[in-house]
């Protein structure tokens, strides 16, 4: 049995910062029903990489059919695995009436629209609560509803820029910030989307009460800026970038060093004298390593530029993975800067942990999807969710939701389809 069995989520999220939240609850056993409409699809449905050859766009399509490649995005497949999906035109009053019928049989409503959208549709919390008194409504907008920027949009890079995460990453000035080379706040935003839903579900199980949560992508981003705010509040110190050097405790050498091959690097972190001795032995106890300027941690920290240069000269010709294995055997914390190829094709530990799970998809076939990293001893928990499948096709679960759950006859469903409602 899965821990969230019986919890039904109406999923009105987009891309990853929203969409990744219900994904995780699916893995835990919830039933997330993704609500989509062909005229305003999740951009990920239309973004590559696609599985297999480009579909034929010239085939005739019906009045409410989505674009032909809508079910083949690899990224969408990863982020929405385990979910159900229905097509529903929420811009039409008839569509919103059907949505209200779904609210009556749901536990959680989650959206990641900009903050006024649901209210403009007459679907604010008060309305949802009048339909289902214990409903949990998580509004996961960019900036949150309350506040002066509530109408602003957000993507991961925007959240990272404003919060300070971008400025915190990179080599010291005069280098500019390096920032994050991906939307860190998309997965991290999704984690907080999941966290808030889970906390509210637990609270409801204990008290019977639902609630409204005014979530955002920006605040978790601020939450992850760590001690920088406190250092300013207490010491008046502004954040300064320091590349890959250690900030919380003295450590040297501490950085990444070039290895053999194009753009291959190994991270080495020495946090005590025992590790330094082990590293020196592996290098072959060269004369430079015995010099007084590297004799203590404080001395090494003070002379890091030169230390990095000398260590880099030693790593430069070496195979990164062989060096990693050798240094780890000697008790030195070392790890290759791994690419996606390294992780997918070679990393023996990730393979041991079954980090990718093959999940079937009706159009794409079976592809690997990133599995959840929490391994339960008793409950069945994996990214296929109770359905054991990858992301849904557009409208894949219309029969289940409109037929089985809402009891609409095939004739009613056909009429709604003809009318451009489902």
């Amino acid at each position: 049995m899965r821990p969230l069995e019986g919890v039904r989520i109406l999923d009105l999220t987009w891309v990853l910062a929203g969409g990744g939240g219900p994904r995780l609850l699916d893995a835990l056993g919830a039933e997330a029903i993704r609500i989509e409409w062909r005229d305003r699809l999740d951009t990920l449905r239309l973004a590559g990489p696609f599985a297999g050859p480009e579909p034929d766009q010239s085939k005739p399509r019906g009045p409410t059919d989505p674009p032909a490649n809508v079910n083949r995005s690899g990224i969408y497949n990863d982020i929405n695995s385990g979910k159900r999906a229905i097509s529903l035109n929420m811009t039409r009053p008839e569509g919103r009436e059907i949505f209200k019928r779904l609210v009556a049989i749901a536990d959680v409503v989650v959206d990641s629209f900009t903050s006024e959208t649901m209210r403009n549709w007459g679907l604010g919390y008060e309305v949802l609560k009048s339909i289902k008194p214990d409903i949990i409504y998580l509004q996961q907008s960019g900036w949150g509803y309350k506040g002066v920027y509530s109408g602003f949009g957000s993507y991961g890079p925007v959240a990272q820029a404003i919060s300070g995460l971008t400025e915190q990453s990179g080599l010291p000035s005069p280098y500019p910030p390096a920032g994050w080379g991906y939307s860190y706040m998309d997965w991290s935003g999704a984690y907080y989307c999941a966290i808030m839903m889970l906390l509210a579900v637990y609270h409801k199980k204990r008290t019977g009460k639902g609630q409204y949560i005014d979530g955002s992508q920006l605040e978790p981003s601020i939450y992850l800026t760590g001690t920088a705010v406190l250092d300013y509040a207490v010491n008046g110190r502004h954040w300064q970038r320091s590349g890959n050097r250690a900030i919380a405790k003295p450590a040297a050498p501490h950085g990444v060093y070039r290895c053999a091959g194009e753009d291959r690097w190994i991270a080495i972190a020495i946090t005590n004298e025992e590790e330094w001795r082990a590293l020196k032995t592996e290098i072959g106890d060269p004369a430079w390593a015995a010099e007084p300027r590297f004799a203590t941690m404080a001395a090494r920290v003070a002379n890091q530029d030169e230390l990095d240069r000398l260590l880099g000269a030693w790593t430069a010709g070496q195979d990164p993975f062989a060096l990693q294995e050798r240094l780890q055997k000697a008790g030195v914390a070392a790890g290759v800067c791994q690419t996606a190829e390294d992780r997918v094709e070679r990393d023996p530990q990730l393979r041991h942990l079954n980090w990718l799970i093959p999940l079937p998809h009706p159009e794409m076939g079976t592809w690997p999807v990133k599995n959840i990293p929490f391994h339960f001893a008793n409950a069945e928990v994996d990214q296929g969710g109770p359905l054991g499948r990858a992301a849904p096709c557009y409208g894949q679960d219309n029969d289940y939701v409109y037929g089985t759950l809402l009891g609409m006859s095939p004739a009613q469903r056909a009429e709604l389809r003809q009318g451009g409602i489902i």
Binding site: P3, L4, L25, P49, G74, G147, G151, Y155, P157, V158, A161, G164, T166, E167, Q168, S169, L171, A178, W180, S183, Y191, Y192, L199, H203, K205, R206, T207, Q211, Y212, S216, E219, P220, G226, T227, V229, L230, A233, V234, N235, N244, K249, D263, A267, A334, G335, Q338, T339, A340, D347, P348, Q349, H352, L353, W355, K370, P373, F374, H375, A377, V381
Partner: protein
């Protein structure tokens, strides 16, 4: 007192920085978190920065930040007298967070089956660098090594040279993100298990390998490899993708930076060109690229880049972004974390919180809630515990008298 999400949940935290952020999340959500430290205090009390730069176990801002809202007791868990105390603490908790070195608890006879006997309802969360088994089980790691092996570093850094090679290293974004990434997911698993326990009445053991948690948290690099077998290039202040994309980060008149997400949709491109024109930097763009269909390709990108470089360079980093945002252009100031403290938006949402340090007679601004939940407000405070601050209270619950607690302290058991 207002309601809290986890007001009836008790958490026991054993270990180091690997699990501290997870305990912080539990405390924020309203659980009672008891942090067990070795006598003298946890090693993370010596992590920088420090109050007035004084290295001291009571003055680590690192410790304050990651342990706000917790209670603290000291215990040398390896001491013979400690075992029955630890067992009683475990019997009385809902969640046990264990980020001790591998096999520490099982080495004390407290493996999962023993823990289940002590407390059949226990949620036992084990946070390890690489997992409890597998070829890299005994590898050593740090935040930096995790961000290297897990994948973030090869996505983060600076543009390559024109020939596609790099003269700058991959970058590990700083602030102990390895543990923050892992603990977010550990918390998700643990709250999921608490929900499951409402139905089954049974406990659960959850294994959380930090390496895996990080490896699944990058974005497009893995799907691009799986579906296209192509590598990605790391690029300054923007996504690592298969090709070099247009510049997205620009220096501003005050020597700071602002960013812009370019060309998500034709509507956004049109809005951006209008905005640049309005600011007096649209000349070339509006003349040569009046037709929306012409707004693609290297020539257009170069013209847009020139206009943006000039416009950004003419204003301060905070000056234009709100106006651009109102026009639905994804333009943002690149702020320092502390620059959010003065922002009205966060003040209205109580995103930052004041935390009192009575023994210093001072109150400081902390990062507060990751979301606004008015019915179950996030809790930020009281300040992190002093070394052994709650020993008497916590050990009184185990039936120990004050004099017994003093005796244990003399023997350095607590």
């Amino acid at each position: 007192m207002a309601d809290a999400f986890l007001s009836d949940v008790k958490v026991l935290e054993l270990g180091d920085e690997k699990g501290e952020f997870c305990g912080k999340l539990f405390a924020g959500a309203g659980a009672e978190v008891i942090k067990i430290e070795p006598p003298g205090g946890a090693p993370t009390r010596l992590n920088a920065p420090f109050y007035h730069d004084q290295p001291n176990p009571e003055r680590s801002l690192y410790f304050w930040h990651y342990n706000v809202g917790k209670r603290g007791a000291t215990l040398d868990i390896a001491a013979p007298e400690a075992k029955p105390m630890l067992e009683k603490l475990i019997a009385a908790t809902d969640v046990l967070i264990d980020s001790l070195p591998l096999d520490t608890l099982s080495g004390l006879g407290l493996d999962w089956s023993a823990l289940q006997k002590l407390n059949p309802r226990l949620i036992y969360l084990v946070i390890t660098p690489f997992g409890r088994s597998g070829p890299w089980r005994d590898y050593k790691a740090t935040d930096l090594v995790h961000l290297a092996l897990g994948g973030p570093m090869m996505c983060c850094g600076y543009d390559p040279r024109p020939d596609g090679t790099y003269d700058t290293p991959p970058i590990a974004p700083q602030m102990w993100h390895a543990y923050q990434i892992a603990c977010n997911q550990a918390f998700i698993g643990a709250v999921g298990a608490l929900i499951g326990r409402e139905t089954t009445g049974q406990g659960e053991m959850i294994d959380l390998p930090i390496h895996q948690a990080i490896a699944v948290s990058t974005e497009v690099d893995v799907p691009i490899w799986i579906y296209s077998k192509k590598p990605v290039f790391r690029q300054t202040g923007r996504h690592a993708v298969q090709r070099i994309s247009p510049q997205a980060q620009f220096q501003t008149a005050d020597g700071r930076y602002a960013m812009l997400l370019i060309g998500i949709t034709p509507r956004e491109s049109a809005a951006l060109i209008d905005f640049l024109k309005q600011k007096g930097f649209g000349g070339e763009l509006t003349e040569k690229f009046a037709e929306p269909a012409s707004r693609r390709g290297p020539e257009f990108n170069a013209a847009l880049n020139r206009a943006l470089t000039q416009c950004m360079g003419a204003f301060g980093f905070e000056q234009l972004w709100k106006e651009a945002m109102r026009k639905r252009i994804s333009w943002a100031a690149i702020r320092l974390p502390e620059e959010n403290l003065a922002d009205e938006h966060w003040r209205m949402r109580q995103t930052f919180a004041k935390v009192e340090h009575p023994e210093l007679g001072e109150t400081f601004d902390y990062v507060g809630a990751p979301t606004l939940a008015e019915q179950c407000p996030w809790r930020t405070g009281p300040r992190a515990p002093l070394v052994g601050e709650h020993n008497r209270e916590i050990y009184a619950r185990l039936g120990l008298s004050d004099s017994q607690v003093e005796e244990l302290a003399r023997k350095r058991v607590i």
